[in-house]
Symmetry: C2
Subunit: 202 residues, 2 copies
DNA sequence: GACGATACGGAATTGACGTTCCGATTGTCA
DNA sequence: TGACAATCGGAACGTCAATTCCGTATCGTC
């Protein structure tokens, strides 16, 4: 929670002044909240207000709104990737995969901006965290297909697409707040080998 | 294609002048193209340019960008609803439902704005076309569940949510342009009664 | 073909944000 | 405690896109 985002300057920049570090934390927390709630539409002024800080201070720590958004989502991806890594030990690959999907869904459901960032930059230039996550998911998919639990025509790239969908459905007003769980449950059932009614189009 | 959107004024507004009607058509066509391509981000100036018309003219016909967007999507919904109505005669409800999903997916894939509009205004205040579509889908679901083809815990509200997801995955850069078909195929398989691994959370 | 009434075009206005700037503060180190 | 550098705060600026305005051009009618 504190290692979020390396300091501004490049290498060897001396440690931040006490008040600066404090403010940086406040900005990050405020930005998390603002973007989670309102998506990338949240305004820098709003972030500053929530952090009880001037806009200038926000910009002192992050050169750009985009950079701030980027930093936050990279951090989130990294966190998900870390949990995912732990699942590689699991015996049951399908179960591990399913768990991972639920955890990712949780993150997406709680953070509107995350879905938006993910959608906006699909397979082009993933951030490190996303990259690692992809590797892990690929491995889980491979194993789950080997055991015959997952349909064999699924590919890694399908996952962010599907999760993007889950997230987007979450972003907007919906009957019950937990609607995304229904969505994901249906998807997961559709990913089982036993559910395949045909081969997925190339 | 021509009945799109009733004239501006309220009742009894005399018929539009010839050039006005012509321009209105051009504006609608241009707006379709622009919003389909770029989503709601497309600019009014761009719409005007494509229509070979001044911005003022666009505003003469639609008081607001929002209104224009609304008119277009209502029209699209109405069109989908019409095709859907035809499917109520089909013997095989599941097949009819599946077909409908594919057709809707096609519409969403070809029109970025449609997904965005749909997502932005989920179950709050649906437009007439969406309302009718919902009724038809509800009926198809009922029948498909009765025959045991569709899992029994699906409800109508799930459908726009799922399709919203399909659409959102489409909106953004993706490996292959037809990726949404994979997404939808997985969803549909997950909706089969035979795929259900448990009951969907309330 | 002359006269309103309509409609048009597109420059100008407005409002909303992201970002920059700079005088005022505050932390750090001697 | 004093001096200097790192930070702040938040007003001011610039850009971009929606919307308005109004002089000009067209249509429909007599």
């Amino acid at each position: 929670m504190s290692q979020v985002v390396v300091p501004p300057g490049d290498v060897a920049s001396r440690p931040l002044r006490a008040d600066a570090r404090r403010n940086r934390e406040k900005v990050i927390a405020a930005a998390r909240a603002a973007f989670a709630e309102q998506g990338r539409e949240a305004q820098m002024d709003d972030v500053a207000r929530r952090a009880e800080v001037g806009v200038g201070t926000v910009y002192r720590h992050f050169p750009t709104k985009e950079a701030l958004l980027e930093a936050l989502s990279e951090d989130t991806f990294a966190r998900i990737a870390e949990r995912a890594r732990g699942k590689l030990d699991r015996e049951d690959a399908w179960a591990a995969f399913e768990e991972l999907m639920w955890e990712a869904g949780d993150s997406l459901a709680g953070d509107r901006a995350l879905t938006e960032v993910m959608a906006a930059r699909a397979p082009g230039a993933p951030c490190p965290g996303q990259l690692e996550l992809t590797d892990i998911v690929a491995e889980l998919i491979r194993r789950a297909q080997a055991t015959g639990d997952m349909r064999p025509d699924v590919v890694v790239e399908d996952v962010p697409m599907l999760m993007c969908g889950v997230g987007s459905a979450t972003s907007r007003p919906h009957p019950c707040e937990e609607a995304w769980r229904r969505h994901l449950a249906i998807l997961i059932d559709g990913l089982r080998a036993s559910a395949a009614s045909g081969r997925l189009a190339r």
